[in-house]
């Protein structure tokens, strides 16, 4: 489902509108540009580039969008400070803990200020505290105007951060639950 929403795979039937764009009507090049500009990804396995340090990893989406490397790294560094990794900017992924890697991946997902962030099991490899921290940052982004975060997870701890929860079984939505988001409650 995430692949279809992100435009990585074509949908078989029906229509798909993401951020008011009809994904079925977009050409490959348009879909690529759409993804590059509007979508941030947070993967279960982080998927950081092992050859790049933290700040360079975070800068990748900006560089892919044509931002010069220096400016991209400055913005990436600022975001790494926000996620509490100011002292680990030059570290390679192999030198970071799982939680730190996921925060780098989170910064990468948010650095180009995407309208939609797609997360695949973002807390699966994290302990409770780190998972909560990651989800709080995502929730903060989601509450910004004109922004959304889609999370696919088996981790029930995540539910408290969502404001619209769709339960799926065998690829079909069985129940949708609307609730106030955690930040609105607090």
């Amino acid at each position: 489902m995430l692949s279809v929403v992100a435009g990585l795979l074509d949908h078989d039937e029906g229509s798909l509108h993401v951020l008011d764009s009809d994904m079925g009507a977009l050409s490959n090049a348009e879909r690529l540009r759409f993804r590059r500009q509007n979508i941030g990804f947070l993967f279960q396995q982080y998927n950081l580039l092992p050859a790049l340090n933290a700040v360079e990893n975070v800068a990748v989406p900006l560089i892919a969008n044509g931002i010069p490397r220096k400016a991209a790294e400055e913005r990436a560094a600022a975001l790494l400070e926000t996620v509490g990794l100011a002292s680990r900017m030059m570290a390679l992924p192999s030198e970071l803990s799982g939680g730190q890697q996921q925060r780098v991946a989170l910064a990468r997902a948010l650095v180009h200020d995407p309208k939609l962030v797609i997360c695949d099991e973002p807390t699966a490899a994290l302990d409770h505290k780190t998972g909560d921290a990651v989800m709080a940052l995502l929730a903060q982004h989601a509450l910004s105007p004109d922004r959304a975060v889609v999370v696919v997870t088996h981790d029930t701890r995540v539910l408290e951060f969502g404001d619209r929860i769709a339960y799926m079984d065998d690829g079909r939505i069985t129940q949708i639950e609307e609730r106030p988001a955690v930040a609105e409650v607090s």
Binding site: L2, S3, A6, L8, L9, A29, L32, R33, R35, R36, Q37, I39, F41, F43, Q44, Q45, N47, L49, P50, A51, L52, E56, V60, P61, I63, A64, N65, R69, D120
Partner: protein, 379 residues
């Protein structure tokens, strides 16, 4: 994205070095074998190009290369001299007498007999003695390689005597003659004496060396001599290439070197291609991530080409450096002197490496283009 491509390439040092050195050794083998090949072929015409004063060689019409001589009549020299446009013409003898030293060591030699009066064809690069000393009775000049073959490990000195087919001769000079194809000692003597060393034959004139008058090119003079005498006349350059073509056509040298060069190319392509392909496979997840983020296929293709060209360029530079070092070392050794690294060898090796790099890249590019970005969501 260029720096990302290069970081990905060099992140795993051992794989990167493996790739670079596969290309370096492929480059080295290609350039090395073609250099040795060129060096050997150049040797076939070295005795021709060592004669710097005359630009036209006249010979029997059946002569195909320098070593194969059919003697001319003495009157042929006069006929050549009578051709319009000949400034001068002198005789040259080539034979292969056996040389024997005082210690009993002997070797077949290449004896060049030059015109007694003018000494045209005498070696101009002398290491010891003077070429003018050939005027001394029974004097010969031997090349350094030949001297070391006849007197291994002994210091070079003049005045030593050698027996040439029962004739006692004295070494009056040591030359730096270019290496011959068969690596025989190269001796120079006056024509009148050289023919005696060879033994009596009815006809002994091997070649006539001629020089055109002012305003006439060697090619024009060659044509005139051929028309006027019925003999074969070639410019120095044409005759040198005749020799090279003869050996190319009639010996197994090109096949042997061709096989080695082909194997170097195949091994280089397979090793470099496989190493680069495995490198790409190892990085598929990273390429998938970049695809998901929105990096275009053409950018990924550019990244792969940059990686391959980087490894290719560095490997080629290292391989060329290895070959230059090899040539520099062996150029100064007696047995391998005359080794040459032609710019054509470097250019052809470069073209082959580009081919290797493109094949290696093509395999990787295919794999990455076929990669579904959605794989990033699979654990």
């Amino acid at each position: 994205m260029r720096f990302i491509a290069l970081r990905m390439l060099t992140a795993d040092r051992s794989k990167y070095l493996g790739l670079v050195f596969a290309i370096a050794f492929c480059t080295f083998l290609l350039q090395n074998q073609s250099s040795i090949f060129a060096g050997i072929l150049r040797r076939t015409g070295n005795q021709i190009s060592d004669v710097t004063e005359a630009s036209v060689w006249v010979m029997d019409p059946k002569t195909e290369y320098f070593e194969q001589t059919k003697a001319l009549k003495d009157t042929d020299l006069l006929r050549v001299r009578g051709v319009a446009g000949v400034a001068w013409a002198v005789r040259l003898f080539k034979g292969n007498p056996i040389a024997k030293t005082e210690s009993g060591k002997y070797a077949a030699t290449t004896m060049i007999g030059i015109d007694d009066d003018t000494l045209v064809g005498a070696p101009r690069k002398m290491l010891l003695g003077r070429w003018e000393d050939l005027q001394k009775p029974d004097g010969v000049i031997v090349d350094r390689a030949g001297y070391q073959l006849l007197y291994p490990g002994e210091p070079e000195r003049l005045g030593r005597t050698i027996e040439l087919n029962d004739h006692r001769v004295t070494i009056v000079g040591i030359s730096d003659a270019a290496a011959s194809f068969l690596s025989l000692p190269i001796m120079h003597a006056r024509y009148s004496e050289a023919v005696q060393f060879q033994g009596q034959e009815r006809k002994q004139l091997s070649y006539v060396l001629a020089q055109p008058s002012a305003g006439i090119t060697p090619e024009q003079l060659s044509s005139r001599i051929e028309n006027a005498t019925g003999l074969r006349a070639r410019t120095t350059d044409q005759f040198r290439w005749d020799c090279i073509r003869y050996y190319l056509k009639n010996t197994g040298i090109p096949v042997n070197f061709g096989i080695t060069i082909f194997i170097a190319l195949v091994v280089g392509t397979v090793v470099a291609g496989q190493t680069f392909y495995l490198f790409t496979i190892d990085n598929l997840r990273q390429f998938g991530t970049l695809k998901a983020i929105g990096v275009a296929d053409r950018t990924l293709v550019g990244m792969i080409l940059l990686q391959a060209l980087n490894a290719g360029a560095i490997g080629f530079a290292i391989g060329t450096g290895m070959e230059v070092t090899f040539v520099e070392i062996f150029l100064h050794k007696i047995a391998t002197r005359g080794l040459i690294l032609l710019w054509q060898s470097v250019a052809i090796a470069a073209a082959c490496i580009v081919f290797v790099v493109l094949i290696a890249s093509w395999l990787s590019i295919r794999r990455v283009l076929k990669l579904e970005a959605a794989t990033v969501f699979r654990s």
